[in-house]
């Protein structure tokens, strides 16, 4: 091996690491894109990021590698997960395309772009391969720090401004202005009476369902689920778990057992049909 080539190449260990972790990173990226549930995507992305952090470290960017793990994967990705939870962790996206031709165009563009990038990199004259050793001679963090606080100090200050602005912006965006005075309980009660919709407190979930999770609707005496019992947010997300059929089956089993024991014939099977079915 000539000195030139030596400068180009890296150790075998790094090569092994690259091929294994690189494959993982690509897999993670693909999963991020193609998995249906946002939460899975987020986890895959986190994995990819950790792989990337390892690559940073391998490339001598120790500070960045740590930051990548701590800040990016640890903070930002968790923020993602937080929002995913807020929006609904169980909701699965349909991957069916609704815009005509969008998918094909996207794939075509992506493919073309990738080929172009690869071609560009292949064409680029990357002859002098310095290695990071000299730059990291005084320690990576110290080196970065001296650059940040000298040459890039202005940009650094600006990023500070940017972060503050972003924080304020996020607050503004998510903050709901309270326009009027908060209504007292009495007023709310009066309003309820005036509207005449539902006077007593809403029923709790799972009351007659033998489950007590918040997303399980309580059953009405006839065995049908009552949506009123479920939290509004869950209702809107469509995350109500319906266990009424289970309850009815249980009931039927109970009655069958009772028949067997009391040796009576079934009164009428049709009565156990759900009311809306009966009405059809």
């Amino acid at each position: 091996m000539t000195a030139q080539l030596a400068a180009y190449s890296t150790s075998t260990g790094e090569a092994v690491q690259f091929w294994i972790l690189g494959t993982l990173a690509v897999l993670g990226a693909l999963c991020t894109v193609f998995l249906k549930k946002a939460v899975h995507s987020a986890l895959c992305l986190a994995g990819t990021m950790i792989v990337l952090a390892v690559f940073y470290l391998a490339n001598g960017a120790y500070f960045l590698g740590i930051v990548q793990i701590v800040v990016y994967t640890g903070a930002i990705m968790m923020l993602f997960l937080f929002v995913v939870m807020l929006v609904g962790v169980t909701a699965a996206d349909s991957l069916k395309e609704t815009i005509k031709g969008q998918r094909w165009l996207a794939l075509l563009c992506g493919l073309g772009f990738g080929i172009l990038l690869f071609a560009g990199i292949g064409h680029a004259s990357l002859k002098d391969f310095e290695g990071i050793g000299r730059a990291n001679a005084n320690g990576n963090v110290e080196g970065l720090a001296s650059l940040i606080f000298t040459r890039y100090v202005f940009a650094f200050e600006l990023t500070g401004v940017l972060l503050i602005t972003a924080a304020v912006g996020a607050m503004v965006l998510t903050h709901r202005q309270r326009i009027g005075r908060a209504r007292t309980q009495r007023e709310l009660a009066e309003q309820r009476v005036r509207e005449g919709k539902h006077l007593p407190p809403l029923p709790a979930p799972g009351v007659y369902a033998r489950h007590n999770a918040v997303d399980i609707a309580g059953l009405l005496p006839d065995g049908t689920p009552s949506e009123l019992t479920v939290n509004k947010t869950l209702r809107e997300r469509g995350q109500i778990r319906d266990v009424s059929a289970e309850a009815l089956n249980d009931l039927r089993a109970l009655e069958q057992r009772a028949e067997e024991r009391l040796e009576r014939t079934a009164i009428e099977a049709a009565t156990f049909k759900r009311p809306e079915e009966a009405s059809k």
Partner: protein, 631 residues
């Protein structure tokens, strides 16, 4: 002084037309006064000319430069020589008489002031025509008389027929005017000028072909103005105008402008025999055409109009003979001016007395009721048929003689046509005479049939009869006065030139033949209309009669080919303009609009679609960068 000739009637026209209703009471007097003033000035100038040597009788007055553009000099300059003087006297003289006549004739018309304004305008334009020193100024007058004729034919505008006739006259004249303007352009191209002097004196320097072209274009112009075949169709319709107008414009003066133009441009025609031949042919054809049409018309004014056409045909024929005939053409023009004006005024007087009835089949036996009219009309009649001793005899006889003198086969043919024309003229004029003044009183039947009390025809007032008498005197003695001692010949010769012809037969033989023809014509007419009663409703008649009644299908031809064809052409062009030319424009707009509509679909509101476009754009940019580097 010359300018004053024109200025007087022009002033009259301006005052009368701008003055408004305030002048209604005195308008006709102002008009007549200024027309007469012009006549008086003409007489003074005439006396002045007579006092000079024959060679120095050309007076040129340069007023101002009209259109001064590099290489193009059009001046307002007047040229008074013997030829124009003759016309000036004819125009102002007959014009003044007709002004006087109109005072009576138009008495009951509320727009009489305006009528006199138009008449004055006509006089000014006609004087400008004959006094102009260059062809462009002549063109000015030429169109000016066209305008006056338009206004006067259409004077009774509330009648659609009058308005249509006026428009037709103007349009047909415009076709002729096109010829004149092309002739002027040819002159400018050839000689660099269109003043009489440089053009006519340089005729020898250019080719005969060019001169023939100019000559033919001038002939086209003359055909339009003088109602010669093939542009004759307007004259008959022009009789929609008041009768004094027919007398002044469509008999005595304006229609003879074509003859003036050809005689004035004699030098050009002399050097272009082909053009000359064309003039004689046109003259001869029109002569017969007019005569044939005249035989069949029952409308007294239209019969006279056809006669006018025919008589101008004589003049054209003479003018086409070159120096042989110029003088006689003008002489016939002048005598014709007298007797035809007289005849028209007579016809007007008859109509005046008959409640504007124009159909001769509803006249008859009028000689007892309007003696003055009868006598003056009769004298005019005798003059036009060339009764020996009266003015028409002298002038027409000379023309026939000159036609024979042309020599060769041409001479025989032309002479024969002229003789035939004389016979037919005698026939139709006798017919008019007999149907109007002799025979039974057919107007009574009509009045009884319609249940009205028979309106007794009455003689016209003095203001109308006096001009008729004066004109009758002119028609009786004019010819003799001009011919005795060849006065007219000597007077005009310096301008037009003259060469004695040598007729193949003796002059007396020609005269005798003329008289014989005339007697035959009268006799046939007497046999048909004098001895038998005239049916009040026109019989169907022979094919020729029916054709003649319809102006030998000229109008039908025009209608089918020009009017109908033109209508189709314009209609299809309107369609083409709308669908094709505008369609291309609108189509371009619509396709841009359609394309935009398609493009708008791309703006579907989906952020991801925009992202694809953005990403595609980025890819293209990368590609472009790579390509640039590769190059």
């Amino acid at each position: 002084m010359i300018a004053l000739l024109i200025a007087a009637p022009l002033l009259g026209a301006a005052v009368l037309l701008v003055g408004g209703r305030r002048l209604d009471a005195v308008g006709h007097w102002i008009g007549t006064l200024l027309a007469s003033a012009s006549f008086v000035i003409g007489l003074v100038l005439f006396a002045d000319l007579l006092g000079r040597e024959a060679e120095q009788r050309t007076v040129v007055q340069h007023l101002f430069s009209w259109i001064p553009v590099a290489g193009f000099q059009a001046d307002v300059a007047f040229r008074l020589d013997q030829l124009s003087m003759t016309f000036v006297l004819l125009i102002t003289g007959v014009g003044s008489l007709i002004h006087v006549y109109s005072i009576g004739y138009m008495e009951h018309d509320e727009r009489r002031r305006r009528f006199f304004g138009y008449l004055n305008l006509f006089l000014a334009a006609m004087l400008l025509l004959v006094l102009a020193d260059n062809y462009l100024l002549l063109y000015f007058g030429w169109e000016g008389v066209g305008l006056a004729s338009y206004l006067l034919i259409g004077f009774w505008q509330h009648k659609p027929s009058a308005a249509t006739a006026a428009k037709k006259a103007f349009l047909v004249n415009r076709v002729g005017d096109m010829g004149l303007s092309i002739a002027i352009m040819l002159m400018f191209l050839t000689f660099g000028s269109f003043a009489f002097e440089p053009v006519l004196s340089q005729v020898g320097d250019t080719s005969e072909g060019r001169l023939t072209a100019i000559g033919l274009m001038l002939l086209l112009a003359a055909c339009g103005k003088s109602a010669q075949v093939p542009l004759q169709s307007w004259l008959g319709d022009a009789m929609e105008g008041p009768t004094p107008v027919s007398a002044l414009i469509h008999a005595a003066t304006m229609v003879t402008a074509g003859v003036y133009l050809i005689v004035r441009s004699g030098a050009i025609f002399n050097a272009a025999p082909d053009a000359q031949l064309a003039v004689t042919v046109v003259g001869a054809v029109t002569l017969l055409f007019g005569a044939v049409v005249g035989c069949a018309k029952d409308d007294i004014k239209k019969a006279l109009a056809a006669s006018t056409m025919s008589q101008i045909g004589y003049m054209m024929l003479a003018a086409g003979l070159g120096p042989l005939g110029y003088v006689f053409a003008i002489m016939h023009l002048v005598t014709h001016g007298f007797f035809k004006a007289g005849l028209f005024l007579g016809a007007g007087s008859v109509m005046h007395g008959m409640n504007d009835e124009v159909d001769m089949r509803k006249y008859g036996g009028l000689r007892r009721y309007m003696p003055v009219t009868f006598v003056t009309f009769g004298l005019g009649y005798l003059a036009i048929i060339g009764f020996p001793g009266l003015s028409g005899f002298f002038s027409k006889d000379k023309i026939i003689e000159a036609a024979f003198a042309k020599g060769g086969t041409e001479g025989w043919i032309l002479g024969g046509v002229a003789l035939l024309g004389a016979a037919v003229t005698a026939f139709y004029m006798t017919r008019v005479m007999l149907m109007t003044f002799f025979g039974e009183e057919r107007w009574r039947d009509r009045a009884e049939a319609s249940g009205q009390a028979a309106a007794t025809p009455h003689e016209s007032p003095g203001v109308m009869t006096i001009p008729m008498i004066v004109l009758a005197v002119g028609s009786v003695f004019g010819g003799a006065f001009f011919s005795i001692g060849d006065r007219f010949l000597h007077w005009l010769e310096p301008v037009t030139g003259h060469s004695e012809g040598h007729p193949p037969v003796g002059a007396w033989a020609v005269t005798a033949a003329t008289v014989v023809c005339l007697l035959i014509g009268v006799a046939v007419a007497w046999a048909q209309y004098g001895r038998r009663p005239v049916p009040a409703v026109a019989p169907r008649g022979s094919l020729l009669t029916r054709a003649a009644r319809r102006d030998l299908f000229q109008d039908d031809f025009n209608h089918v080919v020009l009017v109908r064809g033109g209508e189709h052409l314009t209609r299809s062009l309107v369609y083409v303009d709308h669908t094709l030319v505008d369609g291309v424009v609108n189509g371009a707009a619509a396709s841009v609009g359609g394309l935009s509509g398609r493009m708008r679909r791309l703006q579907n509101g989906f952020a991801r679609s925009y992202a694809v476009s953005m990403f595609g754009g980025a890819a293209l940019l990368v590609a472009a960068t790579l390509l640039m580097r590769a190059v």
